[in-house]
Structure formats: structure tokens, C-alpha cells
């Protein structure tokens, strides 16, 4: 085990962290702005992954599959917000948990109806299928670098939208004081619909990018959902910066946990969370 081995693990951890960030940032925005705890967020990841399987089978190309899947995810997110989530804004968290739990059951069943219970995989496109030789027997796949690059681009794009545009200004205002935004005459229903659809699409995009690396199987969204919860709790609910730091911590922690403590790999993440919360119950960047 030399340093290049650890470098590969570090890169893997960062790449995993980036994907988690895409999912968790949507989750944290939806909670921070809309006050909705959305268990169905993992289902969007699953939808993204399965859309990629289906569309890349149709078009034979990952890029066009992703380009086609993005607007579909946006539409699904919008439909879910209008048809289900919008009834929950004035309701207790308990009912939000229940209704979105029901959505998971429905999405999982729809997935089984449409795509069956088999495990699917998506081919990595030709130009990205190579790998970079680090040492004689250690190489790093180009596609994983591509995932990280995509995530960085999207992260920068998000930063630009949130910090520099009028929509972003409204989102930031909504995250810090929802009532005030509403009383300033901003159409809060429209804002909610936009935030929810965008959040859902981010999760779906993570599913699309990850599809060629991980296999696509039923219930794929459930694990992602719970890990994203951990990320959001660590980072502080409603904070995008927190979601980023949390995602990196979990991504790297989980990857090294699998290498160094294979018997307790999945627990490392939760131990990390307990540690952070013991020190800061409101998360790293959460409002007290």
C-alpha cells in the first residue's frame, strides 16, 4: 500500500463526496426554504439512474441519455411538488414524513413495473473509458474524473445562480426568512415549485452520473437518501456550504472506512455524525 493507493482512495472519496453533494444540496435547500422534509429525495436519484439505463439503451449514448433525462426529471419533480408536496406546507413534519414515505413506496413499485427487479448497468462512453496510469499496477479511471469535473461545474453554476442572480437572491432570502419573502410580494408558490424541481433534478443528475460506475438496482435510492440525511445533519440544515463540507467528510470518511475498517465500514459514517453532533447539535453550519 503505497501513496498512490491512498491517492486513488482520496480521489474516490472526493468523487463520492461530490455526488453526495449534488443530492444533499437539493435536500437541504428544500428543507431550508420550503420547510419540507422530503424522504422521496432518494427516489429522484433512482429515477435519474433508471432513466439513464433506459435512454442510453435507446440512444446508445450516455451524453444524449443525460440530456434527455434532465428535462424529464425536472418535469417529474414539478409534478410531485404540485400533486403531493404542495398540500404539506402548513402541515406538521410528521405528515410530511408519512406522505413522502408513501411516495417512496409508489416510486419503488413503479420502478419494478417499468424496469423489473433486475440489476442493470450502463456502459461508460468510449472517450471516457480509459484510465490514467499512476504506477505500474495502479490506474485511475477517466470516467470518475469526469464525474468530479461535472460536479465541480454544477457546483460553480449553483454558486453563480445563488449568489449572482435574482432567483438566487430570492432563494437566499427564502432560506433565511420565509415569511418576510412572502410578505414582500414574491410569489412563494412559484419559488417553491422552482426550488423543489431543481432540487429533484440535482438528485436525479447524481443518479445519472453515477449509473455507469455503480450498478443500477431496485431500492438504489434508499441508501442514498439516508446518507444524504447524514450529510445534511452534519452540515446544518439549510446550509449549502454545510452540505458541501458534510458531503466531503462523509465521502472521504466512507471510502477510507471501507479500506481501513472493512468490517465496520458503514458504521464509520454514523460515528462521524454522532461525533459532530455531540460537539455541535445544530450541525457545522446550522443556525442554533
Amino acid at each position: 500500500m503505497d501513496s498512490s493507493f491512498y491517492l486513488i482512495q482520496l480521489l474516490n472519496g472526493i468523487q463520492y463526496g461530490f455526488l453526495l453533494f449534488l443530492v444533499a444540496s437539493g435536500l437541504t435547500l428544500i428543507f431550508g426554504i420550503m420547510g419540507i422534509i422530503n424522504l422521496a429525495h432518494g427516489s429522484f436519484y433512482m429515477i435519474g439512474a433508471y432513466l439513464t439505463v433506459w435512454l442510453s439503451g435507446l440512444t446508445g449514448n450516455l451524453f444524449s441519455a443525460i440530456l434527455l433525462a434532465l428535462p424529464i426529471s425536472l418535469l417529474v419533480g414539478y409534478a410531485v411538488e404540485r400533486l403531493a408536496i404542495s398540500f404539506l406546507y402548513r402541515r406538521d413534519h410528521l405528515y410530511q414524513v408519512l406522505l413522502t414515505y408513501a411516495l417512496i413506496l409508489i416510486f419503488n413499485e413503479l420502478q419494478r413495473i417499468l424496469w423489473g427487479s433486475d440489476v442493470h448497468s450502463v456502459a461508460i462512453p468510449e472517450i471516457l473509458s480509459g484510465s490514467i496510469q499512476l504506477t505500474d499496477n495502479q490506474a485511475y479511471p477517466v470516467y470518475r474524473l469526469f464525474i468530479s469535473a461535472c460536479c465541480i461545474a454544477i457546483g460553480l453554476g449553483m454558486y453563480w445562480v445563488i449568489q449572482k442572480t435574482r432567483l438566487g437572491m430570492t432563494i437566499r432570502a427564502g432560506a433565511s426568512n420565509r415569511e418576510m419573502v412572502q410578505s414582500l410580494g414574491i410569489n412563494i408558490n412559484r419559488l417553491f415549485a422552482i426550488v423543489f424541481s431543481l432540487g429533484a433534478t440535482l438528485a436525479a443528475l447524481a443518479g445519472m452520473l453515477a449509473a455507469p460506475v455503480n450498478t443500477v438496482y431496485p431500492g438504489i435510492g434508499d441508501g442514498v437518501l439516508i446518507i444524504s440525511f447524514v450529510v445534511v445533519v452534519i452540515g446544518g440544515i439549510g446550509s449549502i456550504k454545510g452540505a458541501f463540507i458534510g458531503a466531503m467528510l462523509i465521502g472521504i470518511g466512507d471510502t477510507f472506512g471501507k479500506v481501513l475498517l472493512p468490517e465496520m465500514a458503514s458504521m464509520v459514517v454514523y460515528a462521524l455524525m454522532a461525533l459532530v453532533l455531540f460537539w455541535r447539535p445544530q450541525g457545522l453550519f446550522g443556525k442554533a
Partner: protein, 351 residues
């Protein structure tokens, strides 16, 4: 002032009678199913203590259910015979200890943090048992014998016998119903209900609310552990899925569908959910779709659950000129079992 209306009381007594007489029909399949329902009822009632009474929305309650089963399985997996009293004491003390520890960490947070934290801790235990090579991994652990309920050397109940086990679980359910009734009627119960209603005010009155929440969390966890213990004895094995988050989700569905904040609601909920899970698959292969639809309908149209509906109907029936509210009151002082039930639900409705 609301009271437990007479129609509902009658309904409950009839329900108990029906449960007590059912095994005499000799239908083995439904006797087993009812046993499962009663075990889930205990689990759901314990969750209701958190959600419906204390206002703590735990999404990781299955952790204690699973730990209850695993404690039994881990200590007795190779044993030829299991002493019921030892096993019970071990299970209760271990789950209480874990609940105390997790509760201590979780109650420092509130609202959505609490929901996510309880979920995360439950997942932690799930993976602990799932990955651990010592505790059976994802296969779980089989139990080769059932506990022997004996005093001295006389065997009181043979838990291998489906009917004996049925009555054993029924007795536990009634006992827990009565114990929780008492707890909720006691000053402690009044305080936790008040915490749910208005935490600030209770704090201002000088109550150490964190301590009350922690005790409530620990009691609920211990009772869930008991339910897990019973389930493990019933099925003869434990698997990590006992602690899975779908189990926590279903428990929550049971509590809300039945009606939170009442003790009989979660029991009704357990009946409805388990029977749906039993019947819907006959209807269609994609029954989860229907299940999801039903849950959504409950959230949108029946937020107080079946119990809320029954209470409303019952009040309408008993809103007759005789006003049965008064006869129910003196009944509260009669120490008979029926009187106890009446008294508790009287208290519940007052709050």
C-alpha cells in the same frame, strides 16, 4: 370536556372479548397473524408514547425493536433451553440502556434534526448487525429453542404452542395498555403531554423537560425492545431487517393511521396495516402502489386516524340528552380493569 364515549368503550371491550375468544375457532393461520398484529400493536403503542404524547417524532424506533430481538438471539443462540425470566430481564435492561444512550444524544436536538438523527442511529445499528460477522450478518440469527415460562419447576406456558403463545402476547398487550394508562394518568404523563402541547410553557414552569423527554424515550425504547423480543420468539429468528428504516416507517404509518395520542388507536392501526399487507398482495402483485395511495389518503383526509374518526362518531352518538359524561366519571375510581381503561381514556381526552 370530552370523555371516552360509551360506544367506544363498548367497542373496545367487544374487541378484547373477540381477541380472547378467537383462538377457540381454531384457525391456525389467523391465530398466527393476530399474534403478529398484537406484537406490532405493542411496538406501535410504544412509538405513540413518543409521537402522540411527548411530541418526539422518532423515525428510528425499529432500532429498539431489533435490538430486543437480537439481545435474545445473541445470548441464547446456542442454548438448549432459555429461561424466560432471565431472557426478559436481559432484553429489557439492554434495550433500556441503549435507548437511554441514544435518547440522551437525540433529545439535545428537536424538530427535523430529531427525525433525521433517530433515523441515522437506527441505520447505524442496522449496519452494525448487517455487517458484523459475529452476529449472523445479513442472514440474521436462528433460535433453536423458545423460552420456558416457569416458576420453580412448574412450566406455566408452552410458548411452542401457538395458542399458548397467543394468550401470552395478549396478556402482554393488555398489561402494557394498563401500564401506559397509569403512566399517562400520573403526574409524569401529564407533564410529557404538556411538553407536546407547549414546551416553552412547561420549561417556564420549572420542569426539567429534557429529563422528562429522556425518560419517555427510554420507556418507549424498552417497550419496543419487548415487542422485538416477542417477535423473535414468535418467528424463531432475527434479521437486520427488524431494524430497517422501513420497519420504522411502517410503525409510524400504523400510529398515524390508527390515531396518535390515543392508546387504542395504534392497536387499530396495527390491525388495519397488517391485514392490508396480508390481503392486498392477493389483489395485485403491485400492492405497494395501493399501500402508498392509502397512506397518502390518510395523510390528506384522515390526519387524526381511525381513532379520531371513531371518537367523533362516538361523541355524536353520545351527545344525546342523557349526557353520559357524568356516569363515566365516578367509574374512574373503580379499580377494576374496565374502570382503568375508562379512566385513562377520560384523561386522554381531557388533555
Amino acid at each position: 370536556m370530552h370523555t371516552m364515549s360509551r360506544p367506544i368503550l363498548i367497542l373496545l371491550c367487544l374487541g378484547f372479548l373477540a381477541l380472547a375468544l378467537f383462538p377457540l375457532l381454531g384457525d391456525e393461520y389467523y391465530t398466527g397473524l393476530l399474534t403478529k398484529i398484537m406484537i406490532l400493536s405493542i411496538f406501535a403503542v410504544s412509538l405513540d408514547l413518543l409521537i402522540g404524547y411527548t411530541g418526539l417524532i422518532s423515525f428510528g424506533h425499529a432500532a429498539f425493536f431489533g435490538i430486543g430481538g437480537y439481545v435474545l438471539a445473541i445470548f441464547f443462540q446456542d442454548a438448549d433451553s432459555i429461561n424466560y425470566w432471565t431472557a426478559l430481564a436481559l432484553v429489557l435492561s439492554c434495550t433500556a440502556l441503549v435507548a437511554l444512550l441514544i435518547g440522551w444524544l437525540c433529545i439535545r436536538t428537536s424538530g427535523v434534526y430529531f427525525i433525521m438523527l433517530t433515523l441515522a442511529f437506527a441505520q447505524m445499528f442496522y449496519y452494525f448487525f448487517f455487517e458484523s460477522p459475529h452476529f449472523g450478518g445479513d442472514d440474521g440469527i436462528f433460535l433453536f429453542s423458545k423460552p420456558e415460562v416457569e416458576i420453580g419447576s412448574t412450566i406455566l406456558l408452552d410458548l411452542e404452542n401457538e395458542q399458548h403463545f397467543y394468550y401470552f402476547v395478549l396478556a402482554w398487550l393488555v398489561a402494557i395498555y394498563l401500564i401506559l394508562s397509569m403512566i399517562l394518568r400520573a403526574p409524569f404523563g401529564q407533564v410529557i403531554v404538556a411538553i407536546k402541547a407547549n414546551e416553552q410553557r412547561v420549561r417556564a414552569l420549572g420542569y426539567p423537560i429534557q429529563r422528562y423527554k429522556l425518560v419517555s424515550f427510554t420507556i418507549a425504547g424498552t417497550l419496543a425492545g419487548l415487542a422485538g423480543f416477542l417477535e423473535a420468539v414468535h418467528t424463531g429468528y432475527v434479521t437486520p431487517s427488524y431494524l430497517g428504516w422501513h420497519e420504522s416507517g411502517i410503525a409510524m404509518v400504523i400510529v398515524i393511521l390508527g390515531g396518535m395520542g390515543t392508546l387504542f388507536g395504534p392497536i387499530l392501526g396495527a390491525f388495519v396495516v397488517v391485514l392490508l399487507q396480508d390481503w392486498l398482495p392477493d389483489l395485485t402483485e403491485h400492492w405497494q402502489l395501493l399501500m402508498g395511495g392509502i397512506i397518502i389518503a390518510v395523510v390528506l383526509f384522515l390526519p387524526q386516524g381511525i381513532a379520531g374518526l371513531l371518537i367523533r362518531l362516538g361523541n355524536r352518538f353520545s351527545a344525546a340528552p342523557t349526557r353520559p359524561a357524568d356516569p363515566a366519571r365516578p367509574k374512574a375510581n373503580i379499580p377494576a380493569a374496565d374502570g382503568n381503561i375508562a379512566a385513562t381514556d377520560l384523561e386522554e381526552q381531557q388533555l
